[in-house]
Amino acid sequence: MLLKNLFAIGKKEDLVIAKISNQIKLICTACESFRDAIKNRDLRLMHRIIEMERDGDVLKREIFSTIYAGAFLPYLRPDLFRFVHIVDDVFDLLEDAAFNYLDLTLNEEIEFECARVAELNLRMCEMLSITFQAMLNGEELREKILAVRIYEKKIDDIKFEIIKKVRTVEVESFWEGTVLSDFISSLTSMSDMIEDASDHLQIISASLR
């Protein structure tokens, strides 16, 4: 009977892990859709991303409530909460970018750079997923976190270029300018958060040593 207790309790933890994996998979899918949407100027796909963000929110709440119900020892919980929160924040930024895009027409040059950033964001999310799996397997995370950082630096360089180019764009109204600025800001800030998330995996991994 006691063994069954222990097994049953293992189930909550497994559930949390599965849901976090799903959350990361979802953000990867969303980033992929975003990249495709920009490349193909597909507004319908952009709308899909906004729906995906809501799914992400639901996942986040489910994860939180399962942890609150008693999954994991207390020392591990704050770090897990923080990680899930950060991934959700990335999703929020992606949604903001998608939303703003619907209201924009980008010139070709800036669109090209934005598509590059979108591609790199996708790569970062995929690397985050790999890092999470590696943590579950007890592997060394150093290399994977370095890979995430490499992507982040690349995006930083492109961000610099975009900001320089965008200054030369003529806007017809304050709001047009704001929407463009918000779009670029959201798009380029995601990478910092994904980097933060991967750092948190390192923290969780090291929390016992």
Binding site: L2, N5, L6, I9, G10, E13, I17, A69, G70, F72, L73, P74, Y75, L76, M135, L136, N137, G138, E139, I204, S205, S207, L208, R209
Partner: protein, 313 residues
Amino acid sequence: MDLFLSLLGSVFIAFVIGSNDTANALGICIGCNIITFKRAVRYFGLLVFLGMLLQGAKVMKTVGHDLLSVNVSIVGAALVISGLLIALANWKRLPLSSHQVIIGSITGAGTASGIPINTSSVLKISLSWVLSPLGALLFAFLFYRLMELTLSRLPVLRVERILRGLLVVSGFLIAYNTGANELATVLGGPVYAGLFTPLQASIGGALLVFLGATLLSPRVIETVSKGITLLDPFSGFAAQFGAGTCVLLFTTLGMPVSTTYCVIGAITGVGLLKGMETVRFHLLKKILLGWLLAPLVSFALGFLIIRAIQYLS
């Protein structure tokens, strides 16, 4: 009258063990949702019963027979004094070893009654009181090192899962010790004074412990688990398991020792691993003072009460 007092004392102390010691054993597990309160209390009662039944005999013999030949008056006086001191300590929130006060008061009462005290027994018991916290320190130290060598290599989440299992194991060990050592110390006197058979003591004692646990332990557990952030689960387990193993060892030797002081020793041991600065020496000094005073005060009280009774009658 003596009979009544003996019974009253036994019942009271067994009840208090239930209300206080459940938290010691299973507070962490309950606080971390590893096990529900209801299940914990049931297992606690069962393990106390098993401990008392399977290994309580040696400690009971030491307390009720080897130390001195008890009779009902001695037992009555000793248990009442112990009960009062334990209640006082609870009220003032001081750590107190029930073993020390029981043995101290029995010895004092016995001396006043003119019954010869087995000095080698007294020496052995005192030595156990000194050695057991140190032994726990050593065990905790070793367990911590062992865990560092084996568990650190595994993935974090697997270690976390293993730790949850280990916490249950160490909690159960402490519960078992509560029966085999603590309850045995309390009921050794009454059993050897002829009040109950060992089996009756086991069943009755465990039942009272269970009652105490069901009725009064929730608040204690709440206090204990509020403070649980398990900042360092490695240390927590190593300390609890180290203390539990040490107490089991001394139980097998028939020596009544305090789990509380062993846990203090164990926590100090793990603290030393992390550096001398983490050990709160001024706190240890206070604990040490209590550890020295308890047997002396209870001896004095036991002595005085019997003399008072003799004077009055």
